[in-house]
Symmetry: C2
Subunit: 317 residues, 2 copies
DNA sequence: ATGCCTTACGCCGCCCGTAACCATG
DNA sequence: CATGGTTACGGGCGGCGTAAGGCAT
């Protein structure tokens, strides 16, 4: 008899090990991960040990549980891999099973809002109203979250469609690394909002990195989150001096005028009348090249499905 | 005792199944795949059956072995997933083991060539010459292949660096879906090369789709492969009427002048003197927006490594 | 009849749970 | 001493190989 398992153990980076690793890293605890995954503590410990043994590297520091440098590197790969595995399953499954005649849509705070902040896009509500006329019995659920979360949900097949927004270099998609198709709906320049008496208020344009240490207002329901700003500036800083949880741009502008901090907004949101006299000015961002982008994210849409109809409505404008 | 395996079988899309599936699909044979993977025929059959059972879908037609529609969809996901798994392993491994003081470089035919076809980039040879002066004892291997192959090899850690070229929309990377960092080195417009007596020779610009049914010359060592043209035109067609395996642009131009077919070249390759009188003209492509791009592909390069030095040399110009 | 894929069956070993162990605060 | 990760050990089951079974060419 030939030896029963001639296959080398070269590719024992099995998926479950990665899934467990990611969970442990996220929760910072073996036992918590065990509960979440339905394993015992011991099993999780063994899985991590197995992964570390396979890669011949420590991936996690224990007590407290943190990713090592190598572990952090692995995490960067593991997340997209696991997402794509889910996407693969969803994608294949979609081809056989006819989905229920329901529609699940996601939208980030700004992309879904009716406030017309971006200036270029009229919002989800109007499109859904038209759709409701055409198919009154259609069950629709709308869900919110960050752009990344929503794009991932679309990839996993949990959502049919998502409307997301965020900062990006002109022409760049917001969902680059996610296995979905994204079509841009609008793209407008962004401006830093300053009090009129701010020393930089007179400038024709600004570099974002010069403002890393300024006081900023975190207003993730009315403006792009500061985390996105940090990422595109390529520096740390942009620490929130104040958090405004509301979604009203006028309030945000008032906060800026009162000197609580700066904000970054689509230029169109300022151009709209009524800003004069508010005590703020918008100065366009020269570096890095940035814009506020809204895009429609979906996977292959079945012909004549409600999802396809909604997508068509949203892309019309 | 609690039931020993409370975990549901929801994620039994294990990697080895995907790897086997991809191999079977590529080779079009269970038995050939078994040989390549070091399994028995029966094992491969069981693995495919297991995958199909898990996804509750037929993935392969038998006799002859072909991917079904669902199988084709899965393949689109499986390839990148497997590549990324390799990349993850290579990336983590690289952090611990110090690589041998050798350099493995890849280059596509046009990107590596000394013919300065792209006009913007002086080629690999010069940079390697400089490097050789600085580190005479360094072992260097250069390898060729298609851009996709080379980018994948870089991701897998088989190459330190690759120089690839191809058609792309302005600003778009050639290695979008591959987990590597790519920096553009040059980007020049492309033109269709026509005989001077061609009916379209007088036009100021052309739409590529209008030429799908023309006679084309496949010259993948002297011009972008027609497969890339097809992909960017978004249509079929562009069938090769003649294949020129050489790498000499002048010969290619002569073939075009003689009426054997058309070619697509970086405009700079035509602007360089000597084209007048060759019997050909270049007409810029207006639709789709296209350019010929050369880029440097790599992963995180260790500081002060030969790979980093070479990258710096290549990016200098 | 002959490839070539599939099914049947036995066995090895992977991987999980239980339980005891150990380290750290 | 308590909390939480590690190690030891036994057992079930997954998955491989062997071998026999279909099925189309």
């Amino acid at each position: 008899m030939v030896s029963c398992h001639p296959i080398s153990d070269a590719y024992r980076v099995e998926v479950q090990l990665l899934r467990t690793f990611v969970t442990v890293a996220r929760l910072g605890s073996f036992s918590a991960a065990a509960v979440e995954l339905g394993y015992t503590q011991a099993a999780v410990s063994q899985q991590i040990a197995s992964l570390e043994g396979d890669l011949k590297t420590r991936l996690l520091n224990r007590r407290p549980v943190t990713a090592t440098e190598a572990g952090a590197r692995l995490l960067e790969h593991a997340e997209p891999i696991l997402l794509r595995l889910d996407a693969a399953r969803a994608d294949v499954t979609r081809m056989t099973t006819t989905p229920p005649a329901a529609l699940a849509v996601g939208a980030t705070a700004l992309a879904g809002g009716a406030q017309g902040l971006a200036g270029g896009h009229t919002g989800l509500a109007a499109a859904l109203a038209v759709l409701r006329e055409r198919m009154p019995r259609l069950a629709v659920t709308v869900q919110t979250g960050s752009g990344g979360e929503l794009a991932a949900a679309v990839a996993r097949g949990e959502l049919d469609l998502a409307l997301i927004d965020g900062l990006a270099a002109p022409g760049d998609s917001l969902a680059e690394q996610v296995p979905v198709t994204a079509t841009g709906l609008s793209e407008v320049p962004v401006a830093v909002v300053l009090p009129t008496d701010h020393p930089l208020a007179g400038r024709p344009s600004l570099r974002l990195t010069d403002l890393a240490d300024a006081r900023w207002i975190e207003a993730d329901n009315a403006a792009p989150p500061l985390a996105q700003v940090r990422r595109h500036a390529g520096t740390d800083g942009f620490a929130p001096a104040l958090r405004y949880a509301g979604g009203d741009v006028r309030t945000l502008l008032a906060l800026v005028a009162a000197g609580h901090g700066l904000a970054l907004l689509p230029a169109a949101a300022l151009a709209g009348g009524g800003v004069a006299g508010c005590g703020v000015v918008g100065v366009p961002v020269a570096q890095p090249r940035l814009c506020h982008r809204t895009e429609l994210v979906h996977t292959a849409l079945p012909r004549r499905s409600p999802a396809a109809a909604l997508a068509a409505l949203l892309m019309r404008r």
